[in-house]
């Protein structure tokens, strides 16, 4: 059974198709990158997986269950760091424990602390445990979010543009950590990104969309000039420079 199985998925808002006829599937341990121009419906696709928007037609199944039916613990979600409310008083370890509890912790139990510290250690962030969230850099924060979403041992990790707002060095560290973690734990990842280079180097499958499905398959097959020109609507200079 596929971890994520999407068949002819359509999403509508106010009578307009935001997503039309998307079909793709991801097996355990695979890394799906979803790419497309701004307004292509990438975030809507992610929200459909998260159960935040309902499909107008078609199916979207995670381990054979619809988002409404599945156990929320199956999903790990890493939002964009820019969405963090920096006025909220919180320590990094509290965010990770919230991933275990599905609620904000008051007093942290010894066992929860131990589990949370292990999750932080796995993403090379054990030293950040007692730091205030609002004092962390974008890269540090992204690793803490990653620990928060992996601490519950999800079946599917969903990431929304994880590189937004973090510098290039932190991005490389994050993707390296993510690759190692995914391989060690056979974690399945779906990531929305506008960075074709990242999709090419880290993903095992790529879905290119622009309101409708442009292509789905292996990075080398999908990230071609022809496909990207179709997605981005013009065929000028080589769009895959540096990828091949």
């Amino acid at each position: 059974m596929k971890v994520l199985d999407v068949h002819e998925l359509c999403v509508q808002f106010s009578g307009h198709y935001i997503l039309h006829d998307i079909t793709c599937g991801v097996d355990e341990g695979e890394f799906l990158a979803v790419v497309g121009p701004n307004g292509a419906g990438k975030t809507t696709f992610l929200k459909a997986i998260l159960g935040l928007v309902k499909p107008a037609s078609g199916t979207l199944l995670v381990h054979g269950k619809t988002p409404e039916e599945m156990d929320p613990q199956w999903l790990g979600y890493v939002p964009q760091v820019k969405t963090l409310d920096r006025s909220f008083p919180a320590l990094a370890i509290e965010l990770v424990v919230s991933g275990i509890r599905r609620g904000w912790p008051g007093k942290i139990k010894a066992r929860e602390r131990e589990t949370a510290l292990k999750a932080l250690e796995a993403v090379d962030a054990a030293g950040l445990a007692n730091r205030a969230l609002n004092s962390l850099s974008g890269g540090e924060l992204q690793r803490v979010y990653l620990a928060c979403s992996t601490v519950r041992k999800p079946r599917l990790l969903v990431m929304d543009e994880p590189a937004t707002g973090i510098d290039i060095v932190a991005q490389k560290t994050l993707y390296q950590i993510l690759d190692d973690y995914r391989k060690d734990n056979k974690l399945t990842v779906v990531m929305v990104t506008h960075d074709w280079g990242v999709a090419h180097h880290h993903a095992t499958e790529v879905l290119v969309i622009n309101r409708e499905m442009i292509a789905f398959g292996l990075p080398n097959d999908v990230l071609t000039n022809e496909v990207l020109a179709r997605a981005y609507g013009h065929a000028g200079h080589s769009m895959t420079n540096g990828l091949e």
């Binding site: 979600y77 969405t83 904000w104 912790p105 007093k107």
Partner: protein, 284 residues
């Protein structure tokens, strides 16, 4: 000094002050962190509409103020969730409509109303045993919702993460709004419509200055809410000043002190960092 506590009216005021101080400062942490500081003002003015209707019909104003304010709170939450309008805009609309209704109701009531004045500015002498019972019921309900603190706080931190985790975020929005509305209405007798919003905002904001975690912010806020209510009430009696205003001024004093102390601590920490040699510099 404490001989005044032998007066029954002062005992009622102190009990009411402590209970209201607890309620407002507990919900205040959600108000402040959800960016709803204006909600307290909006609901207080909605309460004015309800109070005025009670006065017009010569019925105990609280019986009208509670449902009136709850309906307005639910209305604000409904419009906020259904439109793209900002919270401040939605609250501003309901605020003005309730106030306008209140003015019309009072105008229709012939003769001068002392009651309206008491509700606008709060009156310590006006607190009755019935008021205390009503406030105590709200406190009991609040204590029953304490297990929901973690869920509410999680959605306060990140609403979308709460929704992804299938928490009843929207139902909780309504519940919190309604509980805040009831808190505002029962606090009005002690603090007055004009100043009740400060009860929701100042203790929580002061707690935020001192706290590193949301749990400690909640505790600090409750402690500040209760203590300032007690100190403010005693001071208002001693100095013969209006109770609500004196409590709010006490809260303001605590806030300014906390602000100064935090700034001093930050400056000291900054100096320590400056004074510490960087690893590349030779250490003498």
């Amino acid at each position: 000094m404490f001989d005044i506590l032998t007066y029954p009216f002062m005992q009622y005021a102190m009990i009411a002050g402590v209970l209201v101080g607890f309620l407002a400062s507990y919900y205040g942490v959600f108000v402040v962190q959800r960016g709803l500081s204006f909600l307290g003002d909006g609901l207080a003015h909605a309460a004015f509409g309800g109070v005025a209707l009670g006065i017009l019909l010569s019925v105990q104003p609280l019986w009208f103020a509670v449902p009136f304010t709850v309906i307005v709170a639910a209305g604000i939450t409904w419009v906020r969730n259904r439109t793209h309008l900002g919270s401040d805009t939605v609250i501003g609309i309901f605020f003005a409509l309730s106030m306008a209704l209140g003015v019309v109701f009072l105008y229709l009531k012939t003769g001068y109303s002392v009651d309206a004045f008491n509700y606008l500015f709060g009156s310590i002498l006006a607190v009755t045993p019935t008021d205390i019972v009503v406030i105590a019921i709200v406190v009991a309900v609040t204590l029953m919702t304490i297990p929901l603190w973690g869920r509410w706080s999680y959605a306060t931190f990140d609403r979308e993460m709460g929704m992804v985790d299938r928490l009843p975020v929207i139902a909780d929005d309504y519940l919190i709004s309604v509980l805040i509305a009831v808190t505002v209405v029962v606090s009005v007798k002690v603090v007055g419509i004009v100043l009740v919003a400060a009860f929701l905002v100042i203790p929580a904001a002061t707690g935020r200055l001192a706290a590193r975690t949301f749990a400690s912010m909640t505790w600090y806020s409750i402690a500040i809410g209760i203590l300032t209510a007690l100190i403010g009430l005693l001071a208002s009696f001693r100095l013969n000043l209006p109770s609500g205003a004196t409590i709010v001024l006490t809260q303001g004093l605590v806030f300014v002190t906390a602000m100064l102390l935090t700034q001093i601590a930050l400056t000291k920490r900054g100096k320590r960092v400056e004074a510490a040699p960087t690893p590349s510099e030779p250490i003498p």
